[in-house]
Structure formats: C-alpha cells, structure tokens
Assembly symmetry: C2
Homo-oligomer: 270 residues x 2
C-alpha cells in the first residue's frame, strides 16, 4: 500500500548527517508571509532531539528563539545533549543556514513518574467543535491551509470596525488533512495563533515571533487518546510595548485535558 | 567614602577570564534549601551577556534551564553571541562547574524603538505596600532574608488547614537592604515566588525550577523610575501533572506598569 506522507512530516523530515547533526529543507506548504511558519520550525527543532538515539524520555519544555531570517532552502540542525540526569535530559539545539545561526533552542526531556496531579486552570466554556463553522482563512498566508480552524472568539478580518480592546482568541483546530496528534504536531499547533496585534488593531503590520516557550503537560498516551480530534486553542496578550508584545496560550483536548501551555514574545512594528 | 557592596552584587559578581568567559562564585547569602536560589543564578546568566563589551541593547527575553545540581563553589560562565542583527542580538549562555554543564540559557537583547503600545492585563486591585505587614519568612530558607516581603494573598504556613484549591499569591517585594532596581535585580526578583505546590498543599516536598522564561516589558528608564520602591508580584500555577507544574507570574511597579512577565516549569515529587 502506498500512502502519501502528511505535509507536516515532509516539512519536519530530518536526514542524519552525523551524530546529532541533521539536514532538513523548508516546505513551501508551511510558508508564511515572510519566511516559514514558526510552528514547523519549532517542531523540527524538537524533532532533532527526539530523533537522536540517546534521547531520554518525552518533552516537558522547549524554548525556541528565532534569531534571523530563514531562507527557502536547506538547513542544518545541530542537537547537543548539555546534560543527562537520571530521569531528565537538557538539550541545546541550533539551526544554521550557510554557517550562520538562524534559530536557537533549549529543550528538556524527562521520564515522568505518576504522582499527585491537579488541573488548576478551568476548561473554558465553549461550544463543541461541530457547532462552530470552519473558517476560510487560507488566503491569508500559505501555512494556514494545513489547519482546519473553527473560530469561536477573536476573528482576524483586517476590518477596522473589528478592532478590539482585548486580544483573546479561542478556536478549535486540527491538522488538515487530519493527522494523529504527537509531540511534533502539538509543537507546531502551539504557534498557530495569529499575532495578537492583528486581533487588537485589525491592521496588517510587520510582526514575527522572536521567542517561544512550550510546557508539555500531556504525555504520549494522552496525545494518542486525542488522535485526530480537534483541540481547543486559547491565546491572549498581556502587554504591547515599543516593538514587542507577549502572548500566553493553551491547547486543550476536547474532553478538557490541558495538553500544553505556551508563552511567546513577538516583535512588531506599528 | 566606603560602601559595602549589596549582597546581590556580591552574588552576581563575574570576573572576566577571556572574551565571553567569566568566573563567579556562589554566595551563601542566597542559599536555598538545596543549592542556590534560582533567581540569582538567572541574574548572573543575564549579567554575563550584559557585561560583554559587544552586547547590543537591553534584555527583552531570557530563558534559563536548571540542568543539574550547583555546588557551593566557583563556577564558569561561557556567553556566546549566536547572532547579531541590526537591532537585536541572540545569546547562548552556559554555566559549568568542573567541566560539567549545570545551567543553560538563551537571551535576546534589543534596541527598542518607540511605537504603538498598550497594556492589556489590568493592574490588580491590591492594598498599597505600606498597608501590608512585612512577613517574617527568613527562617524558611536563607535567600528569603535578602527580600522584604509583604504578603497579600497566598501565604506559606505549612499548616494543613491553609491548603487551598488554587495557588495564586500576591505580594509586595523589594531587595533587603533596598537597592535600585535594574535588570539584574528584576531577573532575580522574578524567581522570588515559593513553589506553587507548597501554596496548594501547605506541605513541604522536593521541588525546584527546571526552566524559567522572562519577558522584559520595562526598559532601563522605567526601572530607574521604580528605584528602591516595592514591586507587586503575582503568581499562579495552571497545571500540576506527574512531577511537573507550571507557574505564570508578573511583576508590576507601584504605579501600575507591567515590568516583566514570566513562566516557569517546576519539578516536584509528591
């Protein structure tokens, strides 16, 4: 049986050149207005650690810094183990093009032990995914076509009358075509929120994530349970100030499990 | 005139050994229950970049990963510029003891340009600092004695009857003795929240930050305006799950400016 690989698996494919050294290539399917969609770049940084034969456990945190422009061409990723403890492992990961660093990342993997657990943030009251219309936003920028979005709150229309005093968005989202959820897909999904400054002002302006931090609350068994179901994404900014704003976001399973929390710092010019 | 250096300046003193290579030493004044207070370690990682003759601009983001135990001894910090752009600069910083990496960090510095700004998160309604009693918590762990804390919400008593269904703390805080606020002090202050699991359960258990990310919304002029005044700290967890919980926090000036937002991932055993 022949099956076509999912666009996300093509975009995040890494060929091992040496131990911890990989070659990848940008995928036009996940192109953004300028350069690539940051979500797939974050995903491929994490994948470089997970694909390493000496990796230990599952992701618990990842920080990705977008240090410079990324050309539509081949790139190299160097993934280095900074420290391995009994049940945790720290990574330093760098993406380069033609010898110049374009992305840096640090990651923490861990073997989790069952213990006292508690969900403190409540699952938001939202309509079920099938009650929300699928948004047609593919014209905005190419990568969006790889996601099915159902917008509940915080639209992006670029109409001045939709400008808002607050930037919260809530939406149901899944890969398009559907793809079982794993850490690579979850990482990419975590960046699938439009810049909060667009939601506030409903005007286009230069904007791009400069740093993104993800905390993985879900383990692989939880992700397997979610499978190809929609996840709920919620995002909001706290402060816009002289060229940088922050964004806090969460992704939830449809049955109310908090899968991942994230924060971003985003550059803008307005 | 002879003045004694502030304990924070002693704890974060770095001697340059070579370009980007520094030697520091743990300070017993900022000792924690096990190892050092993470706040001063985060501060000294940032300082390694700020002290570098080629640094550009002011901090806008910092991620610090606590990768292994830190002994009460000398340490080395290697700060490397990953990339310098026109107005931003990315750093990779590593702290080692006896050749083994104990802390990794990435930092982004930037020259900010004035532009459209907006505070979206509202300043909390709290009593003024002088209306809140100074808490006597110095017996808990040595580093606390370097801060003056006025607890508004979310006490730490280790009495079972104070266990809570939510982990939010609010407090006024400043260096003790008073010290004018700068990026080094602000970084250290950002970690001065007790582990949220203590607030929830009011039981001691092993707990330690494994990764911390700070977004600096304030510039140096704003910090100079704050000077030696108290800042308001607010922190809460969103999810505790099988050995790791997250924490989101903010520090505000008394006149309502959001100085810094942070997120942490904390290991615990319970």
């Amino acid at each position: 049986m022949h099956t076509t690989p999912h666009p996300l698996d093509i975009a995040t494919q890494l060929d091992e050149l040496d131990e911890g050294l990989y070659r990848g290539h940008l995928s036009t399917a996940y192109a953004n207005m300028v350069g690539p969609f940051g979500g797939t770049i974050a995903a491929v940084m994490l994948k470089a650690a997970l694909q390493h034969p000496q990796h230990l456990g599952e992701p618990v945190s990842l920080t990705v810094n977008f240090a410079g422009p990324i050309a539509d061409a081949e790139f190299q990723i160097q993934a280095r183990i900074a420290r391995t403890n009994r049940s945790t492992q720290h990574w330093i990961i760098e993406l380069s093009q033609q010898g110049e660093i374009a992305v840096t990342a640090t990651a923490l993997l861990a073997v989790r032990r069952p213990g006292w657990s508690s969900a403190e943030l409540p699952f938001p009251e939202v309509p079920a995914a099938e009650q929300v219309a699928v948004a047609d936003l593919g014209r905005l920028t190419p990568w969006v076509s790889n996601y099915q979005l159902r917008l509940i709150e915080g639209p992006l229309t670029f109409k001045p009358e939709d400008a808002s005093e607050q930037s919260q968005s809530r939406l149901w989202i899944r890969d398009q075509p559907a793809r079982p959820l794993d850490f690579v897909a979850l990482t990419s999904l975590s960046d699938a929120f439009f810049p909060r400054i667009f939601v506030r002002r409903q005007q286009p302006c230069p904007a791009g994530t400069v740093s993104m931090t993800l905390y993985y609350h879900a383990d692989s068994e939880t992700l397997t349970r979610v499978g190809t179901q929609e996840v709920l994404g919620c995002a909001r900014a706290q402060q816009f100030r002289n060229g940088f704003f922050d964004q806090n976001a969460e992704l939830w399973s449809a049955d109310g499990e908090l899968l991942i929390t994230s924060s971003q710092l985003v550059y803008y010019k307005a």
